[in-house]
Amino acid sequence: MERTDILDAVYDACVEILKVDKAELGEGTSFAEDLDADSLALVEVVMQLEEQFDLRIPEDDLDDVATIGAAADLVASHLAAA
């Protein structure tokens, strides 16, 4: 799995759940500050990624996820461990 594929999946989840324009998204985009997403919305985004990649990511792991890049890293680390 290439990192760009994972990033793309995070973008798609944001577009679907947060109804944002994909063109506005980047690795450094902050969920809270740039996308006005609260913790519930972040859980939804990650749930969609879990579904897509057939993963189980503990809620505690979300504490350090502030940006789209960090979300991609989280998915990548769980994929590597799977």
Binding site: L40, V43, E44, M47
Partner: protein, 422 residues
């Protein structure tokens, strides 16, 4: 009678809003009610195969996008979406939200919200139970609780409009919408609020809710002719037709409305509330609780039965309700029963929203001097010989209207609505 006429602040209505199977707003709903045609149709949103009841009165083509952003809509159950849109219409008419002009500057800490529901966000709850059973515990949405909780609609309306007075939802099943208006009346009379956004919303046309209401024998099973199924007070009625929608009124202290130059549609002049304490779902066949409730509302308004120009009955189209309510009305009004309608023949039964939608229709009918007919009423067999409006709308003089709502649990609520100028 246990209630003396209130001498407290008068409470007026400065806005109404409705989203119902009969229309996307209050005027459209009233127009459809006047036409006297049922809006029931086969359920189109899920597979009804195997269900004993396969039709309902549905809000079709509901488009909340003018009020709720698509992103927010994902996080709000249909019941609250309906409530938010109805509230927007009412608040816009009252000059307190949206519209072309800037909203009136009022003290938003003095605005309360009481928009209730019979069962809350049951669509989301049902979906998520399926998710848990089929896909596992950790697939359950973190949004389930804020979407299903019974107070969600009141909280969301307060959030959207910055209303910081008390906000709550109450639960008296099919009387919830009416009781919210009564509770709002009391909040203003007691001085706790200047404005109350009051009403009800319901969206319970789900597979499990439909199965459950059908299993208890409450629903009409006229699957071969849904349009003829909701027939309040008719001899051939066989149960109610499940509806969905929302009704919201802006109640306002008369002095507050006058001070800001708001247009007054009418007055909420009286409220009665009793419990049958007879059976958890069946009405008391003697109608004692309903009689006391109507008498309370009239006394609260300082009126006698002869002052009432028309009644919007609860009239569910169930054999038990319509017989008991008719008998109760005959006991209250004697031989001079005013023209009586049940708009559920058109709208179906909107459960927790029904009391609010019918209070709105009663007020609009009183203002128009035209009472909608009972849809599908051909021949009646109810006791009491009440004056049911049939086939065509009935013209009446401008006069107070009485609106009844009764709920499972034995809850009775009656409201007296007086059109401006009557």
């Amino acid at each position: 009678m246990t209630v003396a006429p209130s001498t407290a602040r008068r409470v007026v209505v400065t806005g109404v809003g409705a989203v119902t199977p009969a229309g996307a707003d209050a005027p459209a709903t009233f127009a459809t009610a006047l036409a006297g045609r049922s809006t029931a149709s086969p359920i189109g949103t899920w597979d009804t195969e195997g269900h004993p009841v396969r039709f309902a009165a549905q809000v079709t083509d509901f488009d909340p996008s003018g009020v709720i952003e698509p992103r927010e809509a994902r996080r709000i159950d249909r019941v609250s979406q309906l409530g938010l849109v109805a509230a927007e219409e009412a608040l816009t008419q009252a000059g307190l939200a949206g519209g072309d002009a800037a909203p009136a500057a009022i003290d938003r800490t003095r605005v309360a919200v009481i928009v209730s529901s019979g069962v809350g966000g049951i669509l989301t709850l049902e979906d998520q139970i399926t998710v848990r059973v089929t896909r596992g515990v950790d697939r359950v949405s973190p949004l389930l609780i804020p979407m299903m909780m019974a107070n969600a609609t009141s909280g969301l309306i307060a959030l959207r409009h910055g209303f910081r007075g008390t906000a709550f939802s109450l639960a008296t099943a099919c009387a919830s919408g009416a009781d919210g208006i009564g509770a709002g009346l009391d909040l203003i009379r007691s001085g706790r609020a200047d404005v109350v956004v009051a009403g009800g919303a319901e969206a319970a046309i789900t597979p499990t809710a439909m199965a459950a209401f059908a299993r208890m024998g409450a629903l009409s099973t006229r699957n071969d002719d849904p349009g003829a199924a909701s027939r309040p007070f008719d001899r051939d009625r066989d149960g109610f037709v499940m509806g969905e929608g929302a009704g919201v009124l802006v109640l306002e202290a008369a002095d507050h409305a006058a001070e800001r130059g708001a247009t007054v549609l009418g007055e909420v002049a009286g409220y009665g509330s009793t419990c049958d304490a007879h059976h958890i779902t069946a009405p008391d066949p003697d109608g004692a609780g309903a009689v006391a409730c109507m008498q309370q509302a009239l006394a609260d308004a300082g009126l006698v039965p002869g002052d009432v120009g028309h009644v919007n009955a609860h009239g569910t189209s169930t054999p038990l309700n319509d017989a008991a309510e008719s008998l109760a009305m005959a006991k209250v009004f004697g031989a001079d029963a005013p023209p009586t309608t049940s708009t559920k023949g058109v709208t179906g039964h909107l459960i927790g929203a029904t009391g609010a939608v019918e209070a709105i229709l009663a007020l609009l009918a009183a203002r128009a001097g035209t009472v909608p007919p009972v849809a599908n009423l051909v021949e009646t067999d109810v006791p009491g010989e009440i004056d049911l409006v049939r086939a065509e709308p009935r013209s009446i003089a401008a006069a107070p209207a009485l609106s009844n709502s009764f709920g499972f649990g034995g809850h009775n609520a009656s409201l007296v609505l007086v059109p401006d100028g009557a």
